[in-house]
């Protein structure tokens, strides 16, 4: 029982980190569908740098790549004002593709110094509390939420709408990068193509399920973690094909979306902000 709860938290941690990152940018009104690709590329960057320069710099590299990809999405979604959904999907494909291409030489190489999962799990929990505080109790949080709900009003009050959105995408990307680093440095200290295995999409669904609240995302992530744990436990011991287990996270995302499809999203989510229009 105790083992189950610990494993649930450890399984849930990458989902939580990625969900917090997506949540941050969605609260500012920018949809981020690139999570899966951002996680994949930052997992690779973290692994490659950790191999050369130690795990801590690996974490920094993962977060840096995540943040960079977040800001790149920002150039399209915020500066150019493209369709955010299409730009996000493109980032997802690009991240997955680039990691598969550049990571070939790391496939099957063991990591010299893995990081402890438990430590990062605690960091993730602390970050969730911090984000909750940041969103609801600070001036930056107020600006961020106002930009996500009503960018026109925020602009009139002198809030730099585009700046806040860049900040949210960059910081959120950093969190998503941390999720990737957790995967390749702690959770499975190695790198394989497709190692994110749909967790990024689960994280996006979790943001909706958690109704854009960081603390709810914690419970949701651990719930998903528990389900993943049960899936691993049951595999082999019950006469259900392993493909059914592999398909489980995706089925779960669909169910979550159907159950919470009409949850209240930030009002300006997905809408590019055009000043003076």
């Amino acid at each position: 029982m105790e083992e189950a709860l610990v494993r649930a938290v450890l399984f849930g941690t990458p989902i939580l980190l990625a969900a917090l990152g997506a949540l941050l940018s969605e609260r500012s009104g920018v949809v981020n569908l690139g999570v899966e690709g951002m996680m994949a590329l930052s997992a690779l960057a973290a692994f490659a740098v950790a191999q050369e320069a130690g795990p801590l710099l690996g974490v920094v590299a993962g977060m840096g790549v995540g943040g960079f990809l977040g800001l790149s999405l920002g150039v399209f979604a915020v500066f150019l004002r493209t369709n955010q959904f299409v730009a996000g999907l493109a980032v997802a494909a690009l991240g997955l593709g680039a990691s598969g291409l550049l990571g070939k030489r790391y496939e099957g190489v063991p990591l010299a110094h893995p990081l402890p999962e438990e430590g990062l799990a605690l960091v993730a929990l602390a970050l969730a509390l911090l984000l909750h505080h940041l969103l609801l109790r600070t001036r930056f949080g107020l600006y961020l939420r106002s930009v996500g709900e009503n960018p026109r009003a925020a602009d009139l009050f002198g809030v730099n709408v585009d700046g806040v959105r860049y900040g949210a995408l960059g910081l959120g990307g950093g969190l998503i990068g941390l999720a990737g680093a957790y995967l390749s440095l702690a959770y499975r200290p190695s790198w394989t193509d497709g190692m994110t295995s749909g967790l990024g999409w689960v994280a996006i669904a979790l943001v909706i399920l958690a109704a854009w609240q960081p603390l709810r995302a914690v419970f949701g992530a651990y719930l998903f973690g528990l389900l993943f744990f049960l899936q691993f436990r049951l595999q082999g011991s019950v006469p259900i094909p392993s493909e059914a287990f592999a398909a489980m996270p995706y089925l779960l995302v669909i169910l979550v979306l159907a159950l919470s499809g009409r949850a209240r999203a930030p009002k300006a989510l997905g809408v590019p902000f055009e000043r003076g229009r």
């Binding site: 004002r81 593709g97 680039a98 398909a247 499809g261």
Partner: protein
């Protein structure tokens, strides 16, 4: 420096924006090739090598077929506001339906027709499910269709590794070969299954007429452009959306039938059935800018990119992910160019 809306950009500016962004994508791709350890210029030359000979052109044609069928359906779906990202899964479901018709029903002159019926039906079901979830529960079809891709993927893996695994194949994950009645004819020695190609051309033309020359098409366009106006006019949005989803799912299902009945002649691992067609077709549809007939141009263009990616894989033994990279960069370039041509840069605050 600010970015302002430009309601009526000149054609020259639009062209310039596209050229600029496509060049940017090409440079980014070159950087990735370089980081992988390949000379970018050698890689570009290989990408366009299929244009050089008849065999290469046949490869482009075979890649064009799925893009044409799926792409024209997606143009309709996007135009109506149903963001179907799940053509990949609908294609795989089509392949499953076709395989059932080919291997598990009594063969006869009706076999191929039956396969298209089953494959198209399963594809429609897969897309229809997402449309229903959106209409009934408000679930975003961008995510549900994407998730359904993975579900279809694992269904095919399960089938070829489990109950449908061939009696005559050892150690390989595929079904038995389809009987003669279940095979589509091809052009000469190539892999160009021409009946499916013809079907694709007809589909693009038919959808174009449907969209621009019928009352139903008008309702679809109103719904896609202005859902609020559609509501005031009393249009039944749910039904219109579902119908468009079903049509695009059917065409993706047909694509799956064509791939297994025209090329592989068996059901095999999903990554080999669809070589990223679902995703690349999104580009073909996006490029066609809401006009199904234009897919007749965009599908061969992207077919060339897929065939070029194949040449890269074979000559430089690159991982198959290279196609994802090209697709992602191209998609970014296209949305970027579109947005840039709708705006103008103003040098004041």
């Amino acid at each position: 420096m600010r970015w302002e809306l430009d309601p009526s950009p000149s054609p020259g500016k639009v062209a310039l924006a596209y050229v600029f962004f496509l060049l940017l994508a090409l440079v980014a791709l070159g950087v990735l090739f370089w980081a992988y350890g390949v000379s970018p210029f050698r890689a570009y030359a290989l990408m366009f090598s299929p244009l050089g000979d008849a065999l290469g052109l046949a490869e482009v044609a075979r890649r064009t077929i799925p893009l044409l069928l799926i792409g024209s359906g997606l143009v309709l779906a996007f135009r109506v506001g149903f963001f179907n990202i799940g053509a990949e899964g609908q294609l795989l479901m089509g392949a499953v339906g076709a395989t059932y018709g080919a291997l598990f029903l009594p063969p006869g002159p009706w076999t191929l027709a039956l396969m298209f019926l089953l494959g198209g039906g399963l594809g429609a079901l897969w897309a229809g499910l997402a449309a229903w979830l959106r209409v009934r529960f408000g679930a975003s079809e961008i995510l549900t269709t994407l998730m359904q891709n993975y579900l279809a993927y694992y269904l095919v893996v399960y089938l070829v590794a489990g109950p449908w695994k061939g009696q005559l194949v050892f150690g390989f994950l595929y079904t038995d070969r389809f009987p003669q009645e279940a095979q589509l004819p091809r052009l000469g020695d190539t892999l160009v299954h021409w009946p499916t190609l013809l079907l694709g051309v007809l589909a693009a033309a038919a959808l174009h007429l449907l969209l621009f020359r019928t009352p139903l098409g008008l309702e679809w366009r109103v719904l896609g452009e202005n859902p609020q106006a559609a509501r005031y006019l009393g249009l039944r949005a749910g039904r219109l959306l579902l119908l468009a989803a079903l049509l695009s799912g059917t065409l993706a299902g047909f694509t799956g039938v064509g791939e297994v009945a025209g090329i592989h002649l068996r059901l095999l691992e999903p990554a080999q059935i669809s070589l990223g067609y679902g995703f690349t077709a999104i580009l073909a549809a996006w490029l066609a800018r809401g006009k199904p007939l234009l897919v007749l141009l965009t599908a061969p263009l992207l077919g060339l990119i897929l065939a070029g990616g194949d040449a890269l894989k074979l000559s430089l033994s690159m991982p198959f992910r290279v196609v994802d990279v090209v697709a992602g960069l191209l998609l970014l370039a296209l949305v970027g160019a579109e947005a840039a041509s709708r705006h103008r840069l103003v040098w004041r605050r």
